[in-house]
């Protein structure tokens, strides 16, 4: 179902068309992913495997719950823009039958700065390197740039310099247009496959393979939502909180009718409010800790609207046949183990997991950057200098890929990384150094909230100080 009215968002819905899914016509609009259009049509289970039916979990290209066959090729439905006349089907027990196509073409591309990922961190890095006069190319595997800002509907805090007062999707629009203005080339549908010892990054763009040889690299690949282990967690309708945001805030598709949200951190609380705005009933927010983790203003907002927040509770299983039908939660004891006899059953068709994110740092690991496990920063992150340079000279990291924080710090670490790349390529120009110091100052300020204390502790272990 599509959202007809929304208090904040207006959905454009241009160029209506149809594609076929398993022979059935599905309505879609320009700029929609196949996954969103299918969800709007009510198609939940996209994959059948020997032990059940799977649906999308992340909606941004990490899980394989939305893997489908499109015109004879397998692809993730969330990364595929809808076009008229596509033939889409379940992959099932598929045996490939396509004969060899023409050998692909490979082209070399030499660039000053290569930015991997077009979220707030990547675009900010690209903008400041672009402003310095460098030839900057951003590679994004999705069909639209902006990363996860595009689904943020709340207004950001902070000064105008940091887009205070704007909503996330508006910030994304500004970053994208500013990047283009300063000559940054943004390649969409262009996943970076990896770094190869021959001395280039391979990027798949359309029918060609780009062999990119950059003089500096910024890795700003973002983060992945965490899954919880419990029976039935694969059922269509169990998804990350961010996946529901993608559906409702980016595409205007109602993710479900009756939802249970796991995790009362800021994301869980905000997404619960956004569900209510989209017309979804929120049956409960479940939090395993004794206290609500997020800002109390967010909690108060959803409580006023009658949503119970069950602290010291966890989800014990999800039930359903072809899709989620029931969620069973239970109270936990001091050891976080479910207490028998305390189960509550919710008739829900949507179970959102908002239990944290893990940095997507695999490209850096593959390149051989020195990595470290940091619980405070959400997982494996690269060691870096305070100027965001990793253990590989000329390779920088920014945003959630360097440790889980939020969009404002992503913008700032992106600027630091972008200026560092510029300093490397253009020399220690005073204006660049000053602007970088300013970005670092804003970054320190942004980390002064109580929620940053843990991050700051984590950073102390991963930042390797270097002499100027």
């Amino acid at each position: 179902m599509r959202i007809a009215e929304h208090p904040i968002l207006e959905f454009k819905r241009e160029n209506p068309h149809t594609f076929a899914f398993e022979g059935v016509e599905v309505e879609a609009f320009e700029g929609e992913s196949l996954a969103a259009a299918l969800w709007a049509k009510g198609v939940r289970g996209l994959r059948r495997v020997s032990w059940g039916v799977l649906g999308p979990f992340c909606m941004i290209g990490y899980c394989s719950g939305c893997l489908v066959e499109v015109d004879g090729r397998r692809t993730r439905a969330c990364l595929e823009p809808s076009r008229p006349g596509l033939r889409v089907g379940r992959i099932g027990d598929y045996v490939p039958r396509l004969a060899a196509e023409q050998p692909g073409k490979a082209e070399e591309l030499e660039v000053d700065v290569m930015v991997v990922g077009s979220g707030p961190a990547g675009l900010s890095a690209a903008i400041v390197s672009g402003e310095s006069g460098l030839d900057v190319h951003v590679f994004e595997r999705h069909f639209r740039p902006g990363g996860q800002l595009v689904k943020q509907t709340h207004k950001f805090f902070g000064s105008g310099e940091l887009f205070g007062g704007l909503r996330g999707f508006q910030i994304a629009e500004r970053l994208v247009s500013r990047a283009r203005e300063v000559g940054v080339r943004i390649h969409t549908r262009a996943p970076v496959l990896g770094y190869f010892k021959e001395g280039f990054f391979a990027v798949s763009e359309g029918e060609r393979l780009l062999l990119v040889k950059p003089r500096a690299v910024v890795v700003s690949t973002g983060a992945v939502e965490r899954l919880l282990p419990f029976p039935g967690n694969y059922l269509p309708g169990v998804m990350g909180a961010g996946a529901a945001q993608t559906l409702m805030n980016e595409y205007g598709v109602k993710p479900g009718e009756r939802a249970v949200v796991v995790g009362a951190g800021n994301v869980g609380l905000i997404v619960s409010y956004q569900l209510l705005q989209a017309g979804v009933r929120v049956l409960a927010v479940v939090e395993v800790m004794p206290e609500i983790g997020g800002w109390l203003v967010h909690a108060a907002k959803i409580r006023r609207l009658g949503v119970p927040i069950l602290t010291r509770h966890t989800v014990v299983r999800a039930e359903g046949g072809e899709q989620l039908e029931r969620v069973v939660v239970a109270a936990v004891d001091e050891r976080m183990e479910p207490v028998p006899g305390t189960e509550k059953v919710f008739d829900a068709d949507l179970l959102l997991l908002s239990v944290g994110l893990t940095p997507e740092s695999r490209l850096l690991a593959q390149m051989g950057a020195r990595m470290v496990w940091s619980p405070e920063l959400g997982g494996y992150v690269p060691y870096r200098s305070e100027y965001m340079e990793t253990s590989i000279p000329g390779v920088y990291v920014a945003g959630d890929a360097s440790g889980i924080e939020e969009a404002t710090t992503a913008i700032l670490t992106g600027r630091v990384a972008g200026y560092s790349a510029a300093v490397r390529l253009l020399g220690p120009r005073r204006d660049l150094l000053e602007k970088r110091e300013e970005a670092l100052r804003l970054l320190r300020e942004a980390r002064r909230t109580p929620f940053s204390a843990r991050v700051v502790r984590g950073l102390e272990r991963v930042i390797v100080r270097v002499a100027q």
């Binding site: 397998r74 045996v95 039958r97 396509l98 060899a100 990896g194 190869f196 010892k197 021959e198």
Partner: protein
Amino acid sequence: MRAEVVVVGGGITGVAVAYFLAERGFERVVVFERSYLGSGSTFKCAGGIRASFTSREHIVLMKRSIELWGELSRRLGIKYARSGYLWLASREEDLERLKRYSSIHNQFGVSTRFVEPGEVEEMAPALDTSRLVGALYDPLAGKASPFDAVHKLYLASREMGVEYRFEEVGKILVEGGAARGVASSGGITEAESVVVAAGVWSRQLLEPLGVSLPVEPEPHHAALTEEYGRLFDPLIIDLESGAYAVQTFHGHVLMGVEIPEQPSWEPGERLAFLSKVVRVWSKWLPWLPSANILRYWVGHYEVTPDHHPVLGPVGSIENLFVATGFSGHGFMMGPVVGEELASWVASGAPRTEEAAHLTLRRFEEGRLIKELAVIG
């Protein structure tokens, strides 16, 4: 606690040695692994298992290993299938080579046989046979899941009392010409015997003791496609290039081929590998260029001059044993090596004469073993 045996390395060899030691009644066996089990070479391998080699040592040991794979699979539920190996020739000269191999196999009781295109199509429905000149089938061969094998051996050995410590061993302690234990990141562990099963890294552990292992870290590359339905049952080998491909239990196609490489401790991914492996296999699997490659990784073969492992006692130091140098065959040999090393540690002697041929001494004495069929 003083251990009876310390095993250094938690790959297939280490967990198998620990399993067979425990089965023999050793009660204080400690396995050290610096990362996670299987993280060295085991989880990077294709999982193929065969006895169709061309040396007596390989054939005899692998025949026993295959018996053990069957037993372990029944007892522990390891994913293992006797799904065969199929050697594919597209040139007359490769066919001649296959005939020579086959006669050696048959001489040692491994019944490889030539199969007609019709039979090839039955066992490998996704294979294009239009360029097939001849195919040799080894029905005794098969495959196992490296993940499942290590996991189940770990669980079973732990059940029998083996202790696993996730610490890096920095040093093997030797006193009065005999191994006395190991020093790890967690401290010192004394032991009556030490078994070094640390893959190519065994060389670095033994070097400070004046023991020079003739093993080289040879980079080998492998790639994995997305999952498919049934494509081909046996592991397939293209004679012309030496490339192999196997369909895993999950349905992915895992494939490898050699590219020019120098020994290296820190190998890296090369696009040249991906283009070669897809090009080579397109001859037999013409749909391959349209497949998605999910993963690509580089690992090591720890290669000896004669492509046979180094097993058993390290002559100069008492109570010190080694199991490495498998040259690409360590996974398939895991069970028999576990059994032989357990025998060596327990009784001072291996079970078979063939294992006894494989000690480090053969390099000192210049009695290298000849093996013709090394692949991928």
